[in-house]
Symmetry: C2
Subunit: 182 residues, 2 copies
DNA sequence: GAAAAAAGTCAACATGACTGACATAAATCA
DNA sequence: TGATTTATGTCAGTCATGTTGACTTTTTTC
């Protein structure tokens, strides 16, 4: 499906283009477009899992980060997703109502709502990670040794400089603590 | 702005993580999240350019591909973007109405509408490429030699296998005009 | 001359963003 | 204590962008 092959048929050689186009400064057009296509397929993977639940990509993102950071506060989630609390509200409510996320008042600060994945939520989040990991594993094995480290460094370097430290720590705290300490 | 740093306060060192969680199958959670954050910043770049024109990201995508493939047919554009013609219709009409894209009947097949960027459209598309290229150039230079080729191969490998050939040809078409293929 | 193809359009609807205003409970400050 | 701030939630309306389905016009092809 999704054949863009006929695009290639006549291949109207644009060779006769004007000389002004090449712009010697910085044109990484190929990478720009590859990034677009790669990400499109990458985020499309969870769709088939989402659909039966009546969930969308917003639910995926929320559940993913809640699962990765059990006990996180709502404000933290908002900062990660960079959406408004009204936007988050609807999606989060559905996840809570349908038993994928648990929202408990904080022990030390009872204003806070700490978010935890339920067993059901953990299972679904695992499915998301599994399907996207499958794609990544395939890609990396095609690229040979060193590809994982290269990909990681490239992606980190693509992130806004002022956010990198925070993102890296967020990303790496994964396998560690799972205790509802907070 | 957008500080997720407070998320890091406790920063549970992942070194001491238990061996149980890591799930030996395939969990590339770090790369999954880095891809998310990197792409978010990457597509956010054109926003500042878009806003003054009252355009959105859909306009960016359409103008970008029209500019890269002058004279492309509407159907080809639909196949690249993978949206319906009704969705494309609105965005394309605005781009045509405001003089960024030119829509001309095909010479050989007069049913076709061939899409061309106007001078104004070309200039705007160049701005988009420039700002995103700037980010990529910075990232690659941080990663050292070989990073560009590594990034390109990784991104291609992340694309659905059945689309890769078409995407690669599409992506490299513009370059073909500038330099004989390697 | 009939059928198929390329494109455009109308209408209705879904998702996931947004702003603005306001409510409530709990913590903190003076 | 009382006032203020903080964390969260919610109502209401809007916008951007996607979807289906039905239908038209023009032009090409069989």
């Amino acid at each position: 499906m999704t054949d863009i092959n006929h695009l290639m048929d006549p291949a109207p050689a644009r060779a006769a283009g004007p000389a002004a186009t090449p712009a010697p400064d910085q044109t990484f057009v190929e990478l720009i477009e590859l990034f677009f296509f790669a990400y499109r397929d990458f985020v499309g993977d969870p769709d088939e899992i989402l659909t039966p639940f009546g969930f969308g990509r917003a639910h995926h993102r929320v559940l993913h980060f809640v699962n990765r950071n059990p006990g996180m506060r709502v404000t933290e989630l908002l900062d990660i997703l960079r959406i408004t609390k009204q936007s988050l509200g609807r999606v989060l409510r559905e996840l809570v109502d349908e038993g994928f996320v648990d929202s408990r008042a904080g022990a030390s600060d009872r204003r806070q709502r700490l978010l935890y994945p339920t067993a059901k939520g953990e299972a679904l989040a695992r499915d998301f990670v599994a399907i996207q990991s499958r794609r990544i594993a395939g890609a990396l094995s095609e690229c040979g040794p060193g590809a994982e480290e290269a990909a990681r460094r490239f992606l980190v370097a693509m992130i806004d400089r002022e956010d990198r430290a925070a993102v890296e720590r967020l990303v790496q705290r994964a396998q560690a603590a799972r205790a509802p300490s907070a």
